[in-house]
């Protein structure tokens, strides 16, 4: 038996699904509201959650994240913790600034991600932005790898010693903007297919 939950309360959805004797994790999914310090309350569905079973380096206790798309930002997506409102990482796809970037994952990475190759994976690099943004860097040494169908993710430390933990990227991004001025950098990102777009609270949602 399947039903589609249209109420916003996860408790309500769960209660109805228990009453009906069916799996609450149906098409449309359970709505979950997460708290964030940057974007306020954000409504997501449970299938949007990316599970980092080992956390992220330095944040081993945080396992659930969601990729957020801030419509007022043309470049970055945010990897937001579902449990810790203040923790979110600006991320970029490496294709945007490192054309010849190739990753070789270790067996343990593939096992943790429940994948055998990268065909259904997306990569994201965590970006660090100092006070002078022209000095911003991306971590190519330890990309976040997402198993798209299973929503499993892991920050994989690569063995390749030529990859930088702080790769300067400002000039490369600038070059990309100059070469392709009409298309926003973000719209060239394939990983955004798993991102949740943050609704602008001042505008009514379409269809309501």
């Amino acid at each position: 038996m399947r039903f589609r939950c249209t109420e916003n309360s996860p408790d309500f959805c769960l209660a109805v699904s228990v009453l009906l004797g069916c799996d609450p994790f149906v098409e449309g999914g359970l709505h979950v509201v997460i708290q964030t310090t940057r974007f306020g309350q954000v409504e997501i569905q449970d299938q949007d959650i990316l599970l980092f079973s080992e956390g992220i380096l330095g944040f081993a206790e945080l396992h659930k994240f969601v990729l957020l798309d801030d419509p007022t930002d043309d470049i970055f997506a945010w990897l937001q913790s579902c449990d810790e409102p203040a923790i979110a990482f600006p991320v970029l796809e490496p294709e945007l600034f490192a054309e010849n970037y190739k990753v070789t994952l270790a067996k343990t990475d593939y096992e943790a991600l429940k994948m055998t190759d990268l065909s259904k994976a997306r990569l994201l690099c965590i970006v660090t932005i100092p006070d002078d943004p022209t000095q911003m860097t991306a971590n190519l040494k330890a990309p976040v790898v997402i198993n798209i169908p299973d929503r499993k993710a892991r920050q994989c430390v690569l063995q390749d010693n030529h990859l930088a933990i702080r790769e300067p990227i400002f000039a490369k991004l600038q070059q990309r903007v100059v070469q392709n001025p009409t298309q926003s950098i973000k719209s060239q990102s394939a990983a955004l297919e798993v991102a949740v777009r943050i609704q602008n609270k001042n505008q009514p949602e379409a269809g309501l």
């Binding site: 930002d73 990482f89 600006p90 660090t128 943004p133 911003m136 971590n139 430390v157 933990i165 600038q174």
Partner: protein
């Protein structure tokens, strides 16, 4: 922590397939040779510490900062 004493040229074995040998001792520096299966990840500890540091720095970024970058990038 298990602590073992080794002389130059001696090694320790971890599991069945990992061997770590003392290759050179020079003042305060010790060179280690490591034999391990290809899929074993081997890094200096500083690599992990440096990644943790950058992650912590990144997590402290505010959203205004990233929005401003798109303006800065426009020629």
């Amino acid at each position: 922590m298990l602590v073992l004493t080794r002389k130059l040229g001696e090694s320790i074995a971890i599991d069945d397939h990992i061997k770590i040998r003392v290759v050179q001792i020079k003042g305060k520096q010790v060179r280690l040779g490591i034999e391990a299966p290809k899929e074993t990840k081997i890094h200096r500890e500083e690599v992990y510490l440096a990644i943790q540091d950058t992650n912590k720095e990144s997590a402290a970024t505010g959203p205004e900062k990233t929005r401003n970058i798109s303006k800065m990038l426009k020629p």
